[in-house]
C-alpha cells in the first residue's frame, strides 16, 4: 500500500516531499505511443490499410495477454497503464507491412507473456519485450519475416538504373525488388555476379540521391515503423522535448555507427564513403532502434555514463553485423545483446557519491 495514511482528523500524514511531479508511468507510456502517431499514419499511407490491422492486432493482443495473465495469477491488473499497448505497437513497427496477422498476434503474446510477465512484469524484464517478440518471429517464421515487404514498383529503381538488369531472369528481379535496401547491399553482389554487374555499380544505385530520399521519406522496403527516418525523427524530437528520452543513448548509438562506417568506407571499401554512411544511417531499423527500442527505460542503464556505453555497444554490434555478419540488419540483435549487459553496465557506472573518493 501507499506510504501515506489518513488520521482521524482527516489530515494526511507522510514523509516529505509533499508534492510530486505530474509524470506517471501511464503518462510516459502513452506519450511514447502518441509520438509514434506520425510514423503510423505515414506507414498506413505508404503501405495500405492492412498495416492498421497488424497494429490493431498487436496492440489488442498485448493488452489482452497482459490482462489475462494478471487476472489468472490474481495480480493487480495494470494492463491499461500503456506499457503493454506500447509493446504491441513497437512490435508492429518491427514486422513487415504484409506480415500475416496471426503471426503478429503470436509475437505479441510472446512479447508480453514470455519476455515481460514471466520475468516479473513491468520493470523486471531483462530484454526489450517488443524486440524479444520480433526475435521470436524471426526464428520461427523467417520467410514471412523477410519476404513480405511492400513492393514499390515505381520507387524501385533497380530494374531501370542498373545496366544489364533487363536481361535478368524474372526470378532474380523479383528477389531483388522485393528486398530491403540493406538486403540488396548484403545479397546483391551474389545475385548479380552472373550478370557482370560490378559492386561499384550496385553502390551507385544504392547510395544514389533517389535512394537516400526514399529512405528519408519511407517509400522503400522495410518494417512498418522503420522505413521513414523523417517521421521517426519527428516523434523522437517530441520525446526529447518532453524529456521522456535523453540524448545519451541515441547519440552514442548513432555516433558509433557513423564512426565505424566512416572507417570502413574510407579505408576498406567504396569510393563514396559519405553517401554510404548516410545510407546506413537512414536504412534498416537504426533510427527506430536508436530512438525507440534502445531507449526503453526498463532495459537500458540508469546512469548517463551507462547509457553512453550501452549506446556505443549497440552501435558496434549493429555495424559489425551489417558489415561482416550473416544478416543484412543487426539493430534488433544488437539491442537485445546489450540488454543482457545492462546489469553489468549499471554496476560499473555507479556515480561517485558526493564527498567520497572514487568508488
Amino acid at each position: 500500500m501507499a506510504d501515506e495514511k489518513r488520521l482521524q482528523e482527516d489530515l494526511v500524514l507522510s514523509n516529505a516531499p509533499h508534492i510530486r511531479s505530474k509524470d506517471s508511468v501511464r503518462k510516459v507510456m502513452w506519450l511514447v505511443v502518441i509520438s509514434l502517431l506520425p510514423v503510423t499514419i505515414n506507414s498506413i499511407y505508404l503501405f495500405g490499410y492492412q498495416v492498421l490491422l497488424i497494429i490493431g492486432a498487436a496492440v489488442v493482443t498485448a493488452v489482452a495477454a497482459e490482462a489475462a495473465y494478471q487476472f489468472l495469477l490474481k495480480r493487480k491488473v495494470t494492463a491499461l497503464d500503456g506499457s503493454a499497448a506500447l509493446t504491441g505497437l513497437l512490435l508492429a513497427m518491427n514486422v513487415p507491412p504484409h506480415a500475416p496477422v496471426w503471426m503478429v498476434v503470436l509475437g505479441s503474446v510472446f512479447a508480453i507473456i514470455i519476455a515481460k510477465q514471466l520475468f516479473g512484469g513491468i520493470g523486471f524484464n531483462i530484454f526489450n519485450p517488443a524486440l524479444a517478440g520480433r526475435a521470436f518471429l524471426m526464428a520461427s517464421w523467417p520467410v514471412e519475416m523477410t519476404t513480405t515487404w511492400h513492393p514499390f514498383s515505381s520507387g524501385n529503381v533497380l530494374s531501370s538504373s542498373l545496366p544489364g538488369v533487363q536481361s535478368l531472369s524474372q526470378e532474380a528481379v523479383d528477389t531483388i525488388t522485393s528486398a530491403t535496401p540493406l538486403g540488396v547491399l548484403k545479397d546483391g553482389p551474389g545475385l548479380l555476379k552472373d550478370l557482370a554487374v560490378a559492386p561499384g555499380q550496385l553502390y551507385e544505385f544504392l547510395f544514389s540521391g533517389e535512394m537516400l530520399k526514399s529512405l528519408f521519406m519511407g517509400n522503400i522496403g522495410g518494417c512498418i515503423g522503420e522505413t521513414s527516418a523523417l517521421f521517426i525523427l519527428i516523434g523522437a524530437a517530441f520525446l526529447l522535448y518532453k524529456r521522456i528520452i535523453t540524448w545519451h543513448i541515441p547519440v552514442s548509438y548513432i555516433g558509433t555507427v557513423v564512426v565505424i562506417m566512416l572507417m570502413y568506407y574510407l579505408f576498406i571499401d567504396s569510393d563514396m564513403p559519405y553517401r554510404a554512411i548516410l545510407f546506413h544511417l537512414l536504412s534498416g531499423g537504426l533510427m527506430l532502434g536508436a530512438f525507440y527500442m534502445a531507449t526503453d527505460m526498463v532495459t537500458s542503464p540508469v546512469t548517463a555514463r551507462g547509457m553512453i556505453i550501452f549506446g556505443a555497444g549497440c552501435g558496434i554490434i549493429t555495424s559489425v553485423i551489417r558489415l561482416w555478419g550473416g544478416y543484412p540488419e543487426g539493430v534488433s540483435y544488437s539491442i537485445l545483446l546489450m540488454n543482457a549487459a545492462v546489469p553489468l553496465i549499471d554496476r560499473l557506472t555507479k556515480p561517485r557519491v558526493f564527498g567520497t573518493e572514487k568508488n
Binding site: 489530515l11 507522510s14 516531499p17 511531479s21 510516459v28 527505460m297 546512469t303 558526493f354 564527498g355
Partner: protein
C-alpha cells in the same frame, strides 16, 4: 559570473507567487503559547518554572542542558498554566510549557539602546547568542552558539550565508533580505567577529532579484565588498542544502559523513543571522520569528511575524482562515517540511513556514515497481542511486542497502518528486537510515 552548480537537482514549480510580494505583518499575540522545551537538535532544555509562576516576556523558562542544547524563553508574559506533554512538531510527546497571557509586555514596543557590539570580544558575543537561545532558523534548528564554536583544531576561513531559499512556496527569507538588508549585513559582521575570520559569502537564488539588489546595495553602502561576497545562484532545488550551497559557492566537497567545519566553512541561514543580531544588539531572546503562511486554500497567504509557541490554528485564523478543507498541514516547505497530524501544533524556532495543502493538492499514491527510468539517479544531488536503495529496502535487503551510501542521503526528496512510478524513495532511504541507526 557563471557559477558551476552542483550535479543533479530538480525544478519543482515554485508557487512562491502566493506570498512573494507580501510585506511582513505582525500577527496579534496569541492568548496561549505552547512552548516546547525541545525545539532544536540535541538535548531538550530543562524547565525552570513551575505551574502558576508568573513569567515575563522573554524570561528564560528552560535552560540548555549539556553542550548541544538551547535555552527556551517565554514568548508572552503571563501565567504558566501547564507543563506537560503535547504533540510537537518533532515528537508525539514533547514537554511543553503552556503560558497564558497576563500582565504587560516588558520589551515589545519599547526602545532599547543598541549595544556597541564592536567593543565586545568574540566570547562575549557568543555568550549573548547562547543566552538568547538562538538556533538555526532554516529548518534543522541546530543551536547556533555550538555551530559558532568550532573545535580548536578546525581552521575556519569562510562564513557562508544561506539566502538560497530553494524550497517551493517559502518566501520568508526573500522578504527578510528585502526588508532588512542592512541588519543582515550587520549580523554577518557580528558572526565574522565571533568566528575571528574576515570572509563571508552570501548565496541567493536568482529568482529573488529584489533581495539580491537589496543585499548588494547594503554591501555597497557599508563598503564591505572586501569581506562579504554576494553570489547569485542558479535556480535549482536543493540549492540551499548546506553541502550543495558550499559546493556551488566555494567548489569544496564536504566529505561523506563530515560537516562543513571539515572544509573550513560555517553556514547560517539569513533568518538565523537576523535573530542573532537582535540578540547581540538588544539582548533579545528568540521568542518570535518571521515565517511564510501559505497554500492555495489559505485566505491571506503572506509573510508574518509570529510568536514561538503560537498554534497553527490560531495563526490560520489570523490569516483569514481557510477557504477549503485542509488535507495536509506542513511545517516548513513542501519538499523537506514535516506533515503534522493536527493543527494544534505550535510554531517552533525552526519553523520557516506553514503550508496548508487542499484536498485536490494531496494525492495518495499507490506506487508501482521501478521502471528504471533513471530520473532519480539524475536528480540526486548526492549522486546516490535512490532506485537501487528503494528496491533493496522494499525487499528488506538491508545488506544491499548498506552498500549504497544511505547515510549520505540529505533527505531533499528530489528522487521521490521525480519518480513516475510514485515510489516513496526518500521514505525508503529514511527507513534504511533508521534501521541502521537502531542497530548501531
Amino acid at each position: 559570473m557563471l557559477l558551476k552548480t552542483f550535479k543533479g537537482g530538480i525544478h519543482p514549480s515554485g508557487n512562491k507567487n502566493l506570498s512573494r510580494d507580501k510585506p511582513f505583518v505582525n500577527l496579534s499575540i496569541p492568548h496561549r503559547c505552547y512552548i516546547p522545551l525541545q525545539q532544536h537538535i540535541g538535548k531538550p532544555a530543562v524547565p525552570m518554572v513551575e505551574v502558576d509562576d508568573i513569567v515575563e516576556e522573554g524570561q528564560m523558562i528552560g535552560r540548555a542542558d549539556g553542550f548541544i542544547s538551547a535555552n527556551v524563553h517565554a514568548s508572552i508574559p503571563g501565567r504558566v498554566v501547564e507543563i506537560t506533554d503535547y504533540p510537537t512538531v518533532y515528537s508525539e510527546h514533547g514537554q511543553c510549557v503552556v503560558v497564558e497571557a497576563e500582565g504587560s509586555f516588558s520589551s515589545s514596543g519599547k526602545n532599547v539602546e543598541p549595544r556597541n557590539w564592536e567593543e565586545l570580544s568574540s566570547d562575549e558575543l557568543m555568550n549573548l547568542v547562547h543566552e538568547a537561545g538562538i538556533t538555526g532558523m532554516g529548518g534543522a534548528a541546530f543551536p547556533t552558539a555550538v555551530k559558532l564554536s568550532p573545535p580548536e583544531h578546525r581552521e575556519i576561513d569562510t562564513f557562508v550565508v544561506n539566502g538560497a531559499e530553494c524550497e517551493p512556496y517559502l518566501t520568508v527569507d526573500d522578504m527578510l533580505m528585502q526588508t532588512y538588508p542592512d541588519e543582515i549585513i550587520e549580523g554577518i559582521r557580528i558572526t565574522l567577529k565571533i568566528l575571528k575570520i574576515n570572509k563571508a559569502a552570501i548565496g541567493i537564488e536568482k529568482n529573488k532579484p529584489e533581495a539580491i539588489k537589496a543585499i548588494s546595495k547594503a554591501i555597497e553602502n557599508g563598503n564591505f565588498n572586501e569581506t562579504i561576497e554576494l553570489h547569485p545562484l542558479p535556480v535549482k532545488y536543493p540549492q540551499g542544502a548546506e553541502k550543495q550551497l558550499i559546493y556551488t559557492i566555494l567548489k569544496r566537497e564536504v566529505p561523506s559523513g563530515e560537516l562543513p567545519l571539515d572544509v573550513g566553512v560555517v553556514v547560517n541561514n539569513v533568518g538565523t543571522i537576523f535573530a542573532m543580531r537582535e540578540a547581540v544588539l538588544f539582548g533579545k531572546p528568540l521568542i518570535e520569528r518571521y515565517l511564510t503562511v501559505t497554500g492555495s486554500i489559505v485566505k491571506n497567504p503572506g509573510n508574518y511575524k509570529v510568536r514561538i509557541g503560537a498554534r497553527i490554528t490560531d495563526i490560520i485564523e489570523e490569516c483569514g482562515g481557510l477557504t477549503g478543507k485542509p488535507a495536509k498541514v506542513i511545517m516548513g516547505g513542501p519538499m523537506c517540511g514535516l506533515a503534522l497530524n493536527h493543527m494544534e501544533t505550535s510554531v517552533v524556532k525552526g519553523t520557516s513556514g506553514v503550508l496548508i495543502l487542499g484536498q485536490d493538492e494531496v494525492a495518495i499514491h499507490d506506487y508501482s515497481p521501478c521502471i528504471r527510468c533513471g530520473r532519480c539517479v539524475a536528480a540526486c544531488p548526492m549522486q546516490l542511486m535512490p532506485n537501487e536503495l528503494g528496491n533493496a529496502v522494499e525487499k528488506q535487503r538491508y545488506d544491499i542497502a548498506e552498500t549504497l551510501h544511505p547515510f549520505d542521503c540529505i533527505m531533499c526528496g528530489s528522487c521521490t518528486y521525480v519518480c513516475p512510478s510514485k515510489r516513496p524513495l526518500s521514505h525508503f532511504i529514511k527507513l534504511a537510515q533508521v534501521t541502521f541507526s537502531a542497530k548501531r
